[in-house]
Amino acid sequence: MTAVEISSVTKTFGSVTAVDNLTLTVPEGSVYGFIGPNGSGKTTTMRMIVNIFYPDSGSIRVLGRQMTSARSENIGYLPEERGLYRSMAVKPLLEFYGELRGGRNVSADVDYWLQRLGLAEWGSRRVESLSKGMTQRVQFIAAVIPAPKLLILDEPFAGLDPVNADLVRDAIMDLRRRGATVILSTHDMRIAETMCDSIFMIFRGKKVLDGTLESIQSEYGNDTIRVSLEGGAAAVEELPGVEEIRDLGQVQELRISRECDTQEVLRMLMERTRIDSFAVTKPALHDIFVRIAGAPDSRAAHV
């Protein structure tokens, strides 16, 4: 079963093509990560799934239904730009959003989530009295009451400290365990790698990555060597077959060309300096992201 099925969707704003002929399938019950540089089309895609924007062409099916102008009460949506009625008290505000999304007697749900996200004592306080982190947690709760079948979160961890980020992450994974499909966008590649079953990268409106982390990494092969050398990055300068050196301080990451033999690299390094560690790995998502978004147009079309 698919939760979201996007077929050949294009969306333009004036002369700008925000999403260009996008096709994407999000399986039910999965956590799907949307990554991409700012302005690449992530938010526009999410807004089309929620039906805030209508595609210029193509079609979108959500939870088995063709999207119409009506809203589905089974979708929870946390927009990137957060806003709540500042003069309302937290609990009535959450009950309002819960009822708006078709919930009946949502008070108990609200209490549960306030307790779970450490806001139990703030239910009667006005939103304007909350800190930024608290406000974000309140907004998250507003998106998940009552429990949605599809949860769309645009940058859910932006601005959260590690403790609160863990609270929200646990909540998302819990919702997923209860059967919800989760689509989230993030600029934190570690979150995408650890939380998401599949990752979709959009760049300049076009899909450039789509699949599991393993499949994406496999496409790039074992082209990364992580070494710790006496002499640091200076010891690997102008090493034949090495296309890029990423100096992480104590460790250096070397991206080698497809035809380069890792054993040959090891031999050359041993001739140059003393090696503390040497490991051949697949590229990290961060590295893949930078390769695509930071590369000239020709290399962006790698996938």
Binding site: R47, V50, I52, F53, S69, A70, R71, S72, E73, N74, I75, Y77, P79, E81, R82, G83, L84, Y85, R86, S87, M88, F96, Y97, E99, L100, R101, G102, Q139, A142, A143, I152
Partner: protein, 433 residues
């Protein structure tokens, strides 16, 4: 799964409770009638307490033959108008004429000297009669609506007529009697009692009712409509600028969101109207003038009120969605108020000729129908029965088209950022969506 009216009602409920639960609502309940009623109250107050100080008026008679007649005419007018016949109370000031001999040389020098006396408060004004005695000028700094000029015009004309009568051989003492005015009663049209069939006795037209009731009805409608609709403009802009709108649009359609807001505006106005109608009724009963209230038109009042508020709220919501900041919204307030300000500007024309072609045509033009038709219906004689029905049909079509266009503008504009609203964009969004 999809439930259209419920979401709009929930949004309306939240917005309504938020708006009527604020101090601003209570403040508006007081300040609106004070603002609108202040002018009427001032007129009533001035009328109730007229300035009865003697008014000294200089008279330069360049013809040399009118001064005596003018003194006689003024004396006659003072005697006739200073005191109310029934009560004997003074209702008009005593006019005292001071004849001034024309000076030789530049007439403007004398005019300036007399003007200075007026500025010093020694005179209320001065009159200058021309050489031939058939033209006169009045100089004063009295207010524009002061009766002074009309009073002087009457007195001078009386003097001229007396002089002409005397010249034609009629005894001077008989002249005032010949010029005595005939009182003309102002009566309503005669009607037949619907129950008994008997012809009713003619009733003296109530000038207060003929003026105050239609103006009050229109202003009350205008005031209550503005209370519900004007705050909408900034409220929608605030939802947009504070990023609340996107969260709501993830749950409700733009149409539902806008309809919820419009319903809240209507509910807001109805709440205010109930309070005002209740307080007004108590006041009318208290002042024993309950008969002035056109109770039979109350259903029409509410029909027009709901139509007016719906129209203004939809327009406010659409324009508010197109604005990025409260300042931009402020600049558009006059656009929202145009449908109510234009009827106010033509109010006196309509009162003067309620069934004339201009009043009829304007009151059948849907944006103006609620205010102008209400006003005309409350005037003595009312309007032909078909006109409110045609007006209502026009309003319904207008409101439906307005809400439809507004919701299309709202949908496009609510998530747009950066660009200030342009009329061409609004028109394009309304047509294309």
């Amino acid at each position: 799964m999809f439930n259209l009216p419920r979401r709009a009602l929930l949004i309306a409920k939240r917005d309504y409770l938020t708006s009527v639960g604020t101090k601003t609502f209570l403040f508006g309940l007081v300040i609106f009638p004070l603002t609108f009623g202040g002018g009427v109250a001032a007129v009533v107050l001035i009328k109730a307490r007229p300035d009865l100080r003697d008014r000294h008026v200089a008279l330069i008679d360049r013809s040399g033959k009118l001064a005596d007649f003018a003194m006689q005419a003024v004396a006659a007018r003072n005697a006739a108008e200073m005191y109310e016949t029934k009560t004997g109370l003074q209702v008009s000031p005593l006019y005292v004429i001071e004849p001034v001999a024309p000076e030789l040389g530049d007439p403007n020098s004398q005019r300036l000297a007399l003007s200075d006396r007026v500025r010093r408060g020694e005179l209320f004004g001065f009159i200058e009669v021309g050489d031939a005695g058939d033209a006169a000028s009045v100089y004063t700094n009295a207010g524009a609506i002061d009766k002074f000029k009309a009073w002087v015009t009457g007195a001078i004309n009386d003097a001229v007529k007396m002089e002409r009568l005397t010249e034609s051989g009629i005894e001077r003492s008989r002249a005032p009697a010949m010029l005595a005015a005939v009182m003309v009663d102002d009566l309503d049209l005669v009607t037949r009692d619907a129950r008994t069939g008997a012809i009713r006795e003619p009733v003296k037209r109530d000038k207060v009712a003929a003026m105050v009731v239609p103006i009050s009805a229109m202003l009350l409608l205008l005031m209550i409509a503005m209370m519900g609709s004007v705050p909408m403009l900034s409220a929608v802009t605030e939802d947009k600028s504070q990023r609340i709108a996107e969260m709501l649009l993830g749950i409700a359609t733009p149409h539902e969101l806008m309809m919820g807001k419009v319903m809240a505006g209507v509910a807001h106005s109805l709440t205010a109207s109930i309070l005002y109608v209740a307080v007004g009724t108590v006041a009318l009963i208290g002042f024993q003038v309950a008969g002035l209230a056109p109770v039979s038109l109350l259903p029409w009042f509410y029909v027009y009120l709901v139509a007016e508020v719906t129209m203004l709220c939809a327009l406010s919501a659409a324009l508010g969605a197109a604005c990025n900041t409260p300042q931009e919204a402020q600049n558009l307030v006059m656009v929202v108020l145009a449908p109510v300000l234009i009827p106010v500007l033509v109010m006196l024309l309509v009162i003067n000729e309620p069934n004339g072609p201009l009043a009829t045509a304007m009151s059948l033009f849907p944006p103006f129908t609620p205010l102008l038709m209400m006003m005309r219906q409350t005037m003595p004689g009312g309007v032909p029965p078909w006109q409110p029905l045609v007006g209502l049909a026009g309003i319904l079509l207008w409101v439906a088209a307005g809400v439809w266009a507004a919701s299309r503008i709202f949908r496009v504009a609510i998530l747009m950022q950066g660009q200030p609203p342009r009329l061409a964009d609004l028109a394009r969004w309304a047509v294309r969506g």
